[in-house]
Structures are given as structure tokens and as C-alpha cells.
């Protein structure tokens, strides 16, 4: 198969790349120089010679079981396997001697004697390494007669006891033991690449079969990441889509639109029909790995629920009316301008999407700044990582993570705070687990016993199971231990940080009130354990901190981010490989949407809108005057709407009703607006309050770029034509032009050119550069033409790193007699965010409803049994869902996910928020749980409203 886009070498070199001193050898008379430790097989491949192989693939360590890759080496006895033989200087290798050719044919003959000869009807026909190798070794006959075998259903009259039927329990791929050659690649991929260890070889000798150690794949530990399917050389593990459609004939490299890891994928197609998504081995974020969402859960893009025509209505109680794009645009533009005429220019605003491209986000914020004439733009980062932007901006000088994902390979001590990477960022988690298996130490700070705390071959050295809401106290206590026990990296601090500020900070943090002993009662973390963790981090070598929304979504989210930055500076862990502060961003382009000026106070590149010089750049580029006053944040927009001063909203690719806290308040705000324009793939929950619906395009249908959690700008490439007719940036442009903007972009590369022209950290980014390099990490400009994998290498961006005092202030959300439990929220592996995409895929096989995790003790005193319906109530509202009894949560803490609109977990969450950025306090809500017999009144009312609001009038005859 040929890549239409990038001519990267896709050759499977058989064994992984090594780093080492150069070694020169000769392979079939060709001189080749490779790093020490390289296998003969890989050296041969570098010389342009492919040694036949079955059990070897370059994503896995050599195994040496198939015996097909044998070669002759001068001066050595026998025929060693080239995959397990390391190169030696001066080696003379023969890969095609008569002797090895004969051995290979003999081996192949044995393989084929226990393999069905149904190539023509096999789903891997044309994409089968066994087939390729039979050709490569020149197999012309099989002399063995059919005897005992694994592939015939019947052995004579009786059933064949060795035959195992196909397992198609997994929704996305099948396991057909009849086709298996027991090369072990799947088992090794599950272990080495994914780190789940769900597969094994059962039995021995002729009885050896690949097994999941469970009745079938779906009931096993398998997480459906697809690594085994990717590794399988035959049709044994095969995507169902390929079985159904056939092998793909072309491919396009693009970027996954799920989490912030930003995996590169090859979209493989027949015509414009997507056959499968396979992780791209040259993707620098994922290095050829994937998770169940990116690999398989793309079916939403063609789901029947997708709305493909624009729709309008006068009132939200009316049914929708399908109209032409022209009519929709003039209706929307007319209403928005009317609202501005009546209520003032600040009465309308936009919400940009963290799922759309940089170019699309840039246009949406430009719409409000250049066309609406105000700064009322905000984005879903408000509700997730806005404290990261603020906290890291204040301490280091840039609002982003400091490392690339490759950095984890050089880490010695990892701290994971308020993140659950195996569920939220699975591909990064696999890379982290690989490093942990190699000996790095792990410290988990999380109220829940997440999988990383203990799962096959991984266990945390320290799990600090803190009470939700006490992050600052725990992080400060760690800093206290480091400072008072003299473990701070003083020379690093003197060199790179503001020493005076450090002295003030160390006085503050050294105070006894920050000691682990003083805060133990508050945080619930045993002081000795915390001290041990702090010492391990300070003295264990390269220390890296990875954190997620469990840090930011608190009333003191920004403080915790600064506390984390303090910890990193205290221990000298910023500015080289293997260290750093790494926010795990939630959505595919949440980093990008922040970079692109989505916040009401910042123009692209995090430059304050009050700065006249910055405004001047955009005023010149856009030919308009920019309002110097920061606009409204999302919560302010909703408050203003309820007050009656904010009337119109253009919301692109975000479902604020489901994803934002205090659902009832969001609903009231939306209901009070007179023109809500929702631009989305589906009639989402927010659309129930909309007057205009503009159908969106999926990531498969557009060109653009996403920026992932490591600041990596990856290309998104159009794989198929937009089903709705327009890419999202075109829709925004239509709306802008309907309001008189006069934009005429014809390709997103022109938008990127405008971004590069106006934003210094993107100055060197062009589509040509991205084509050439695959991806770049910002800042990418004259000083860093290749981008910046590691930040703050020679010093902090802001000059001197700044220590900021982090006083712990308890949240106002407190437990009491009425609400004695603390609710915290998170996500699962198979579902994504509000579930709009993943709920419309077969991923529901793993998670078809949100459940409430509750400790056995708390369940028992309430008479709650597993799977019982329970009522979950807070000061803000109540909902009902089923209980799951587990000791993953501590007593006093309950946990749920927010993937399903039926549950509406955010009816419960309150409108408390981060002091600096208004990021909502999703992670702490005081609640009560008791038995219930079904959905709450709110759930029923809401469902009734949603049913009415989603009506679409039949098209006129």
C-alpha cells in the first residue's frame, strides 16, 4: 500500500532501533554501519535487504521463535537467527545462501502444513505476512499430508478436538485460532507495547494456543487497544471492518481527535470509505501505538444521528426547520446583529471548541474580536486546564507543558497527580508503564486507587490517597519536607530562579503548619508516607510530574499548579529530558484552542488584550479596531444571560449543557438567550436550547492542525468530503461574511499563515514545514526553526523561575450532616468526555451507563447493594444512577463519570470555581447517597424537554 501524502519509510525492520557506537559489517556483500546492539536482521534491512521473518517486527524485542530469519555468518557454526544475533564489527553475513534458503522452505512447509489454504477468501488476503513469506522463500510444495491440525472443523467423522471456533466477542476485531501460527507477536505486543498482559500462550508444544485466560476477549483484561491486531501477521486477529469491507487501497496520515495525546494515525481507505484507522509508526506522540478510542471508535463520523442540514427555529419550544445554508446564515446573522443593535455590541459572544482545529478556533475568536467587536470568547479549557495556563504562565513564563512524551523514557521518578492516564490518556499510560517496568519509581497522588497504583507489573511506590480538595496541602507538605530536610537543589535554584523569592518561599513553606504531620488530619495522607514520597521525588534522579484535571478542577486549581511548578523547581527538575511539569490535556486540541486566543483576555499567543502593541498587530492584519477590554468568561456569559444583558451565543463543537457544572444554571442561562447558534455534529444537549443549528464536519472531513499536550502541532488531513457540505472553518467564514466580514480564505493553510504572521511562537509554522517534518512543537520560529521539544533548557522563558507561595484555603464546598460524602468525577477508557462521539460507537460494550463508585462501608450503612439504583444529591441538585461497590474509593468518597446525558452528573456539581480562572470545581462536591427506585424528577423533566426540543419538521413536499 502506498502513502499518498508522505513518503516516510514504512519498512518493518524487524527489531527496534538501538542507540550506540557505530559498527560496520557486510551483508550479502553490502557494507552497512549500524549502532552497536542492532540485530543482524535490522542491519540487513538498513542495507536494503529484507530477511524473511514471521515472529519479528520492529515494534517488539526479538523473540527468535519462527526460525525463518536464519542466516549464515562467516566463522560461526550453524545458522543463527538474524533477529536475536547482535552485529559485531567485521561480520560477514549471508542471507540468501543455498543452505538457509532450504531451511526456510522447510520451516515454511511446516507452518503451512497446519494452516488453512483459503487465501482467496481470507480477510487478510493481500495483507498477510505468512502469504508474503511463502512467496519470499519460494515455497512450491507442501509434502506433509493433513494429519492432526488446528484448522479443520472435523477430523474425519468426529469433531476436531484441536479446532477452536472464532471469538468475535470484541466489537471491533475477531480472534480466529484456526489461522494462528503462534508467533507470539500479539502476546508480546500486549505486554511490551500496551502493558496490559491480557494475552498469553496456553498449553505447550502442538497444544500452544493464544489465549486471554478468560472465556473470551470481551470478558478478559483486554482493553481493545488494537496493538495485537496491529502485530498479527495473519488473519488471526483481524479488524471486523476489514473482514466486512476488504483490504484498503490508499491511506492518509492524520491526527486522532480524541484526547490530548494527539496520536498520529493512518486512515486507510477504499475510495472515500474508511476501512480502518491504524496507528502510524512515525507519529512522534504515539510511536505506533493507539487506544480503543482512536483505533476503533470512529463510527460516530458516519452515524445516522449526524445532522447534515442547517436548521433554524424562532423559539426553542418550536420544532426544528431544515433550511438552506443561505437562509440559516442570514437568519443567524440577522438575529445576532439585531441583538447587538438592541442590547449593545457586548450582548453576544462565542465559545470556541477544543475539538476543532487551530485554524477553526482562530477564526471563531477572530469572529468575535473582528466582527462582533468585543472579546466575548471563551473555550472549554475554562472548565479543564485554564489553571494550567495561568499557573505555569506565572511561574515558568509559558502556559504549557515543558516536555515531549518521549521524555518519559528518561524519567526515574514519576509523580502522577489527579490524573488517571490508563483511562484518560491511554497511549501515554502505555509509554509510562513501559518505563515503570524498566525500573522507574511511581508516586500516585489521587483519592482513588487508579489502575496505575497497582496493575500487572506496575505498582506505585507511594499512593497518597488524599481527601478530595486537599491537593494544595499535600503538594505544600511535600515541598515542606524537601525544604526542611535540606533536599532542595540549591545550586539549580540559585542559577535559574529568583533567589530572593525562593528565600521568602522557603520561609513560608518551612513553617510547621505545612508539615505532613500538621496536615495529616486534613488530607488523610499518613505523614510518614508523604515524607517518604517527598524524599523519593527529591533524591530519586530525574523527577517528572504528570497531572490532570484532578489538579485543576478545584477552587484552588491554579494554586496547585503553582505548587507543582514549585516542586519541580525546588528539585531542579525542569529543563532537560526525563523531568518537567506535564499537564495531560483532556481534549485533542485544548492546548491549541488556548494558544489561539480563545480566552476573553488574551489574543493568540497568550498576549493580553490590554497591550496596545499586541492589538496593533491584529488591528493591522484584520483592518479593524480591537476592544481593549477583556470579554466575558463562560460562567460570566451565563450569569449575564440570566440577568438579561447577554443575548446571543455562537457555540462551536462544545456541549456546555452537559460538560459544564451546575447544569440547571447553564440551562437557565441558555434559555434566557435569544439566539443560540450551535455548530456541532449532533443535536447535543446544548442544542436543546438553540435557535440555529449549523451542522459540523468531523476530523476526517477537514484539513487543519491540532496541538497536543506536548505543544506538538500535528496535521489533520481531509480523508473524505464533509457530509454536511462544508469544513467547520468554512461555516464560520460563512457566518462572518453574512455579518459583513468579507473574509476569503480558501484553505486552512492561509489561516495558519495569518497565525504565523501575528503570533511569535508560531512564526515558523507553515503547512510546508509540517509536511516536511511531520509535526513541530511550538515555539517554532527563527530561534527554534525545528520547534522546541523541551522548554526552559537554558533558563526559564520568563527569565528567572518564580516561586509563589501556596497557602491552602479549604473550599467552601464542605461536607456536613446533610451531605456527608465527597463526590469526585472522572472518565473511563472506552468513553470520551460527554460521550457524544463514543456513545455512538460500539464502545458502549464496555461502558453503557455511568455508575457511582462507593466504598463497601459507606454502602453498607446506607443499605446499598451492588447495581442498586441510588439517588445522588448535592446542594445544587440530584440525579439517580446505579451503584458499584468497590474499595478503589476511600470511605467518605464517591466517584462517577459524566459520559452519559441520562445521568447528568453535572446536575450535582456546584458553581464553585478556581479563584484565578473560574475553572469549575468538578472534583469536589458534598453529596448524600441513598437508595432510590429510578430516575429523578429532573432527569424525567429533562428527558421530556429534550425529546420535544429535538423534533425536526418533515421536509416540505
Amino acid at each position: 500500500m502506498k502513502d499518498l501524502i508522505i513518503p516516510w519509510d514504512e519498512t518493518d525492520k524487524g527489531t527496534p532501533l538501538r542507540v550506540g557506537a557505530p559498527v560496520t559489517l557486510s551483508v550479502d556483500g553490502i557494507e552497512v554501519t549500524v549502532p552497536e546492539g542492532t540485530s543482524v536482521m535490522r542491519a540487513a534491512s538498513d542495507a536494503g535487504i529484507q530477511v524473511p521473518k514471521l515472529c519479528a517486527t520492529d515494534s517488539l524485542e526479538a523473540f527468535g521463535s519462527c526460525r525463518l530469519c536464519v542466516v549464515e555468518i562467516e566463522g560461526r557454526r550453524g545458522t543463527p537467527a538474524s533477529c536475536t544475533t547482535p552485529v559485531v564489527a567485521g561480520m560477514v553475513v549471508k542471507t540468501r545462501s543455498e543452505k538457509v534458503q532450504k531451511i526456510r522452505r522447510g520451516v515454511m512447509e511446516l507452518y503451512i502444513s497446519d494452516h488453512p489454504l483459503d487465501c482467496l477468501t481470507c480477510s487478510a488476503n493481500g495483507d498477510c505476512e505468512l502469504q508474503d513469506m511463502a512467496g519470499a522463500v519460494g515455497l512450491r510444495e507442501v509434502r506433509y499430508e493433513a494429519g492432526e491440525n488446528h484448522f479443520e472443523v472435523r477430523a474425519g467423522a468426529a469433531a476436531n478436538a484441536q479446532y477452536i471456533p472464532k471469538d468475535d466477542s470484541n466489537p471491533y476485531f475477531t480472534y480466529d485460532p484456526a489461522k494462528c501460527i503462534v508467533c507470539n507477536r500479539c502476546v508480546r505486543a500486549c505486554e511490551e507495547v500496551q502493558g496490559t498482559f491480557a494475552l498469553t500462550i496456553e498449553g505447550r508444544g502442538f497444544d500452544s494456543r493464544v489465549s486471554v485466560g478468560a472465556p473470551n476477549f470481551l470478558e478478559s483484561d483486554c482493553v481493545s487497544c488494537g496493538a495485537c491486531v496491529q502485530a498479527c501477521p495473519t488473519a488471526t486477529l483481524q479488524e471486523k471492518s476489514v473482514i466486512e469491507i476488504g483490504t484498503p487501497e490508499r491511506s492518509v496520515i492524520t491526527t486522532c481527535a480524541y484526547c490530548g495525546v494527539g496520536c498520529s494515525f493512518k486512515a486507510e481507505l477504499n475510495g472515500d470509505q474508511l476501512v480502518r484507522m491504524v496507528p502510524w509508526k512515525h507519529g512522534k506522540a504515539n510511536r505506533g501505538h493507539s487506544c480503543v478510542k482512536g483505533r476503533f471508535a470512529y463510527g460516530y463520523a458516519t452515524h445516522q444521528d449526524r445532522i447534515l442540514n442547517p436548521m433554524i427555529r424562532d423559539k426553542i419550544t418550536d420544532p426544528w426547520r431544515e433550511v438552506s445554508w443561505d437562509e440559516a446564515m442570514s437568519f443567524a446573522a440577522g438575529r445576532m446583529r439585531g441583538l447587538q443593535d438592541q442590547y449593545g455590541k457586548n450582548a453576544i459572544g462565542v465559545i470556541t471548541s477544543s475539538r476543532c482545529t487551530n485554524e477553526e478556533t482562530y477564526l471563531v475568536q477572530k469572529l468575535t474580536r473582528a466582527v462582533f467587536g468585543n472579546n466575548n470568547t471563551d473555550t472549554c479549557a475554562r472548565v479543564c486546564h485554564s489553571p494550567t495556563g495561568y499557573g505555569l504562565g506565572q511561574t515558568f513564563g509559558t502556559s504549557a507543558g515543558t516536555q515531549d512524551f518521549d521524555s518519559v523514557e528518561h524519567t526515574d521518578v514519576v509523580v502522577v497527580i489527579g490524573a488517571n492516564p490508563t483511562d484518560g490518556h491511554p497511549v501515554f499510560a502505555s509509554r509510562l508503564k513501559k518505563r515503570l517496568r524498566a525500573g522507574a519509581k511511581l508516586i500516585v497522588i489521587d483519592p482513588r486507587r487508579i489502575d496505575l497504583v497497582r496493575s500487572a507489573h506496575v505498582s506505585a511506590a507511594h499512593h497518597l490517597a488524599l481527601r478530595p480538595g486537599t491537593n494544595v496541602a499535600v503538594v505544600s507538605a511535600m515541598a515542606h519536607v524537601i525544604v526542611t530536610e535540606g533536599l532542595a537543589a540549591e545550586s539549580y535554584i540559585r542559577e535559574r530562579c529568583d533567589w530572593e523569592e525562593y528565600l521568602a518561599y522557603s520561609d513560608f513553606i518551612g513553617d510547621a503548619r505545612h508539615s505532613p504531620e500538621a496536615t495529616e488530619l486534613l488530607t488523610g495522607v499518613p505523614a510518614a508516607e508523604l515524607r517518604a514520597a517527598a524524599r523519593a521525588f527529591a533524591t530519586g534522579g530525574n523527577g517528572a510530574i504528570y497531572y490532570g484535571l484532578g489538579v485543576t478542577e478545584h477552587s484552588q486549581g491554579s494554586t496547585t499548579v503553582m505548587g507543582i511548578a514549585n516542586l519541580a523547581m525546588l528539585t531542579g527538575n525542569v529543563g532537560r529530558k526525563g523531568v518537567g511539569v506535564n499537564p495531560l490535556r483532556g481534549q485533542n486540541n485544548v492546548q491549541g484552542s488556548c494558544d489561539m486566543g480563545s480566552f476573553p483576555h488574551e489574543l493568540p499567543g497568550y498576549r493580553h488584550v490590554k497591550g496596545a502593541e499586541v492589538r496593533a498587530i491584529f488591528e493591522k492584519a484584520w483592518g479593524v479596531e480591537i476592544d481593549p477590554e477583556p470579554g466575558l468568561r463562560i460562567p460570566n456569559m451565563l450569569d449575564a444571560a440570566v440577568e438579561g444583558t447577554f443575548k446571543g451565543l455562537y457555540c462551536q463543537g462544545e456541549d456546555i449543557l452537559q460538560s459544564d457544572p451546575d447544569t440547571k444554571h447553564v440551562a437557565a442561562g441558555l434559555a434566557a438567550m435569544e439566539c443560540v447558534i450551535v455548530h456541532d455534529l449532533f443535536l447535543n444537549e446544548t442544542a436543546n436550547y438553540a435557535h440555529v443549528f449549523l451542522p459540523g464536519s468531523s476530523f476526517l472531513e477537514k484539513d487543519g492542525t491540532f496541538t497536543n499536550a506536548e505543544r506538538r502541532i500535528n496535521r489533520v488531513r481531509r480523508v473524505m468530503a464533509p457530509k454536511n457540505g462544508y469544513e467547520d472553518w468554512e461555516v464560520t467564514q460563512l457566518l462572518a461574511n453574512a455579518m459583513g466580514a468579507g473574509w476569503h480564505y480558501t484553505h486552512p493553510s492561509q489561516i495558519m499563515a495569518e497565525i504565523a504572521m501575528t503570533t511569535p511562537s508560531f512564526a515558523g509554522v507553515t503547512y510546508e514545514v509540517l509536511e516536511e517534518k511531520g509535526s513541530v512543537q511550538w515555539p517554532c520560529n527563527e530561534a527554534h526553526p525545528d520547534g522546541t521539544p523541551l522548554m526552559h533548557v537554558d533558563g526559564f522563558v520568563r527569565g528567572k523561575g518564580r516561586f509563589i507561595v501556596t497557602e491552602y484555603v479549604a473550599t467552601d464546598e464542605k461536607t456536613g450532616p446533610r451531605f456527608p460524602l465527597l463526590l469526585t468525577t472522572g472518565r473511563t477508557l472506552s468513553q470520551y468526555n460527554v460521550g457524544a462521539q463514543t456513545r455512538r460507537t460500539a464502545n458502549v460494550a464496555w461502558h453503557d451507563e455511568d455508575v457511582l463508585e462507593i466504598h463497601p462501608h459507606d454502602a453498607e450503612v446506607r443499605g446499598v447493594k451492588d447495581r442498586d439504583w441510588v439517588r445522588l444529591a448535592s446542594r445544587a441538585g440530584e440525579t439517580s444512577l446505579r451503584a458499584k461497590i468497590t474499595d478503589r474509593v476511600s470511605p467518605g468518597v464517591v466517584y462517577t463519570t459524566f459520559h452519559h446525558p441520562d445521568t447528568q452528573a453535572n446536575v450535582i456539581t456546584t458553581d464553585f470555581s478556581d479563584w484565578a480562572t473560574n475553572c469549575p470545581e468538578f472534583k469536589v462536591t458534598a453529596v448524600q447517597v441513598n437508595l432510590s427506585n429510578g430516575p429523578s424528577a429532573w432527569q424525567e423533566d429533562y428527558n421530556a424537554h429534550a425529546g420535544l426540543a429535538r423534533r425536526i419538521l418533515p421536509a416540505a413536499e
Binding site: T200, I201, G213, S220, D221
Partner: protein, 155 residues
């Protein structure tokens, strides 16, 4: 499935070996010694205790033919089927022994007294055909010899 021992019975057996380096095989041996077989119920408990996956534990258990899924009879007779024994007629001997007992390979007599299993080399090639009864090896056996050995054991 054979009646399984309870969690309370299984756990102490596992815990007794956790101090060892590489405790999996000692645990499996001890479980088999204690219960006569490796209970399916133990797989998850072992995996959790050793921080392995269930699949890995299954892989190890199934690799060794001597780890049983159900208890064997009171006595276990292993007849060698390897090359040296075959060359002096062990196959015929084995077939006759099985026929006399009315068993297939791996079968157990109705009274639960005896299980007959194949084994591939006892290291007694010079004294073929060889067998092993309850861990004790016997060489140069013939039909009468097998009967005598079994009688002596009270089978």
C-alpha cells in the same frame, strides 16, 4: 468443574510463599499438594497477590502438564512413551495396561484409585520400558511386572 476450595483456604497457601523470589511455581506446587489440583478460583488470587495478569498465570499453569485441573486418583501411574521405551515395545505394553484397566490416557479408575498418564522420558532409557508409580520409578517392566507393582501398591 470440580468443587473448588474457598478463598479462605486458597489465600494462606499463596501468602506462605510471597517472601520468595519468583514465588509462582512454589505456590502452584503447594496448591496442588494441598488440594490435589490447581483450583480455577486461585488464578485471580495468585494474579492479584503477585501483581501479574490472570492470563500470565493461566499461561504458566497450562504450560506444565503436571499441574492438574481436577484431582487425580489416589495413585498415579506414568508410563513412559519416549523413544528408548518405544523401541522395546512400551506402546504395546501401555495399550494392554490401559485395556486391562478399561482406561484411556489420563483416565482414572471408577473407584478413584488409579490415574494413568503418559510421560516422555524418565531418564531410565538403559532400563526401558520404564514407568513411575507415585514418584517411584521402575525399569525393565513387562505385563506381569506392571500387575505386580500395582498389586503391591494395593490398586
Amino acid at each position: 468443574m470440580h468443587p473448588q476450595p474457598s478463598d479462605q483456604e486458597i489465600r494462606p497457601v499463596i501468602e506462605a510463599h510471597l517472601h520468595l523470589e519468583g514465588p509462582l511455581l512454589p505456590i502452584l506446587h503447594d496448591l496442588q499438594a494441598r488440594f490435589g489440583f490447581i483450583p480455577d478460583a486461585a488464578r485471580g488470587v495468585i494474579a492479584e497477590a503477585l501483581n501479574l495478569s490472570v492470563a500470565e498465570v493461566v499461561g504458566v499453569i497450562s504450560f506444565y502438564h503436571d499441574f492438574r485441573k481436577a484431582p487425580a486418583g489416589q495413585h498415579v501411574l506414568k508410563l513412559c512413551r519416549a523413544e528408548a521405551c518405544q523401541s522395546v515395545g512400551s506402546e504395546g505394553l501401555a495399550q494392554r495396561v490401559l485395556a486391562n484397566l478399561g482406561l484411556e490416557w489420563h483416565g482414572t479408575t471408577a473407584d478413584g484409585k488409579l490415574t494413568v498418564e503418559p510421560v516422555y522420558c524418565l531418564g531410565l532409557c538403559a532400563c526401558a520400558p520404564a514407568l513411575m508409580l507415585d514418584g517411584v520409578v521402575h525399569g525393565r517392566v513387562d505385563d506381569a511386572g506392571v500387575v505386580a507393582i500395582l498389586e503391591e501398591a494395593g490398586v
